[in-house]
Symmetry: C2
Subunit: 409 residues, 2 copies
């Protein structure tokens, strides 16, 4: 996402008035509102935040499997549903959540107002199914906050510049929350999820994994794009551009989660490595007979989410999510290039701002994997990340070995 008009709105409102209550944007995912009881628990949490003196804006996802059920309904009507109609259809899930939360808050004695993306002033481009926010016009939100109301915004959606309902695609509700926080000049954007924050590794694989207290935007970006599923990469990008402080925390506990903010001096003395993240499977393609510009232009047009890119000669190697395989292969076929693909690899990545000044990290990573008998057919690095593709069946062991070797527990 590039710098957009809503940065202007952010600047207008970013200076807090003296004595003004802090403004918090709270985002709740689908598992946090999956049934009426959980929805009522979310309402109680919003009341607590309001009673603490905050101005509260909540962004809600659709309940549990609602969106998947709507997609299934569409497939029963049409093999390739028309994108404009699909957006009209799947945008209803978040509206249902908002309406129910408004009822629950009313019963708790708090006035709230639920708004569709359109009513909340989320203006997007016209690309249905993966629209980008181009402007936020939060007049109604400001009015409702000034009246002391809790504002509930339907995530994942907006209204296009042609006045049609659009959806934002993967990670849409996270993006709604962060973009709103930027436009409103919120003090913090809290991302509520079903885990207590960002961990040094997935606790299902590494039981001794530890919750991280603080990450920089760059670290979170690397972790999110390398497999940490607590927040969408795209939302972290927006937070980084607009300097929106994030807290990833649990819907089901009161403990502090993981704070994510701009890197400053206080972060210098932190550990070398923040965490080990992984993806269990990715498709890895090896392509020859084309140029990177032609290849990745065509893949972008087909909405393939290309992850790793490596080129060391005539051959271009890239990876992409398994679910994008049909689109990717159709694109490669249309380009008429020679290629091979394999589905048996996953990826393990070490992320940490500290590694920038410690070149020994790469050597230790390879030595650790080598001792464990794990081959790394593809390796890529950034200043704060080392990513190794390994056999899918080796992913768990690789995460465990690296977590131990870098003493992250």
């Amino acid at each position: 996402m590039t710098t957009t008009d809503y940065e202007a709105s952010a600047r207008e409102t970013a200076e807090p008035e003296p004595g003004r209550a802090s403004l918090v944007v709270m985002k709740f995912g689908g598992t946090s509102v999956s049934d009426p009881e959980r929805l009522k628990a979310v309402a109680r949490r919003l009341v607590t935040a309001r009673q603490a003196g905050n101005r509260v804006v909540a962004v809600l996802s659709a309940m549990g499997d609602t969106t998947d059920e709507l997609i299934e309904l569409a497939r029963r009507v049409s093999p390739h549903p028309k994108p404009r109609a699909m957006d009209m259809l799947i945008s209803v899930g978040e509206r249902i959540s908002g309406a129910l939360a408004e009822m629950a808050l009313h019963d708790l004695g708090h006035e709230a107002v639920s708004l569709t993306g359109s009513q909340a002033g989320i203006v997007t481009d016209t690309v249905h199914g993966k629209a980008k926010i181009v402007d936020i016009r939060p007049k109604r939100i400001h009015e409702a906050l000034d009246e002391g109301k809790i504002v509930l915004v339907a995530g994942f959606q907006g209204v296009s510049t042609s006045f049609d309902i659009t959806t934002l695609g993967r990670g849409g509700s996270d993006t709604t929350a962060v973009a709103l926080a930027a436009a409103l000049g919120a003090d913090v954007c809290e991302i509520y999820t079903d885990v207590e924050g960002v961990f040094t590794a997935d606790p299902r694989i590494v039981p001794e994994a530890r919750k991280l207290d603080l990450l920089s935007f760059d670290e979170m970006l690397e972790m999110a794009s390398s497999g940490a599923r607590v927040i969408a990469t795209r939302a972290v990008e927006v937070a980084r551009i607009h300097n929106v402080t994030l807290q990833v925390r649990s819907t089901f506990s009161d403990r502090e989660g993981t704070w994510i903010r701009e890197e400053d001096e206080s972060m210098v003395e932190r550990a070398l490595i923040s965490g080990v993240v992984h993806q269990r499977e990715e498709t890895v393609y090896r392509v020859s007979g084309t140029t990177p510009a032609r290849l990745f232009g065509a893949l972008a047009d087909a909405s393939v989410n290309v992850d790793t890119i490596v080129q060391t000669g005539d051959e271009i190697v890239f990876s992409a999510p398994v679910e994008d395989r049909d689109d990717a292969e159709a694109t490669l076929a249309a380009l008429g290039v020679e290629y091979t693909s394999r589905d048996d690899l996953g990826k393990v990545s070490l992320v940490g701002a500290g590694m920038k000044s410690h070149p020994g990290v790469a050597a230790k990573t390879f030595a650790t994997l080598d001792s464990a008998g794990i081959a790394t057919p593809l390796v890529t690095t950034s200043p704060i990340k080392i990513a190794c593709h390994v056999a899918s069946t080796d992913v768990d062991r690789a995460v465990q070995a690296l977590h131990k070797a870098f003493d992250l527990a």
Copy 2:
């Protein structure tokens, strides 16, 4: 419903341009779009209408039980759901239908655009749950029709003058269709349902009942308000005020249905009686110690749909739907009046414009019921209707006896 601003829109557009294709508004109820297959059948019917050269606007209800399921979900969150939030919630059902129909039409090679009530320009007052349409601003509909598109409008809903989503209450989608037909100057408003038109009696009770070809607005109004469930009373009122010709017909057949239009000379020579309609149960109240103004003012405030009203002395007798009983009794208790109520009565009504000049109809009605041993504890009449309350258990026999006595088969 009183005369409203959208009459002005109607006048602006009512004069057809020379050579302009006719404009038809087609309304489909919940059973007509209850599953993906039926929805696709509705799409094919819209294509047929478009291919015949018409400009087509379709108003869709929610699929099958969708609205009931949403209401049940609300009750699991809140014992008395906040009306504004309830409207936000239950308005999604019609949007789902519209979005799916847009997909189905696209697959049939026809461009369509589904619009929410708000996008279609249905402006209402701010009374949530039973809003009244105050204006229709059909700019987007006209634009889409001019582009040759089929326009799908979500029924039952609008946007209030405070920019909140509202729903129109019982019969809302019928009302949307007729009001749109008025505002657009449509040539006809077709109400598609699961029966072939308006019958001389309910065919489940009288197998030899006959479909009526033509009714006046007044007759349809009396029949709709006396138990014919093919079209909402309120929608007939709007049609009558704005002189919108209606056709009630089946979604599942190509046969002509029942036309409903302004009474003219061609109707004079028709049969005395158009049909016998019934309601299986109604609550009948006998109240003393208050005035009609005070009583019916309070009942209107509580949204009790009062049907029959009779006053012959100090006692006021009125009937209302069984489902309004809680609201009615609460109102009577609050007024502090003495009353009795009974739930064991239904109502049988003869309707026909022809009876205006034939005073013998009432006598024949009472003689027929008397011969059948059916008592009539409450009788009311209008110029074109005789309504008799009878025991609920006598309703079927009364309908059959009257249908036969007046030779309606």
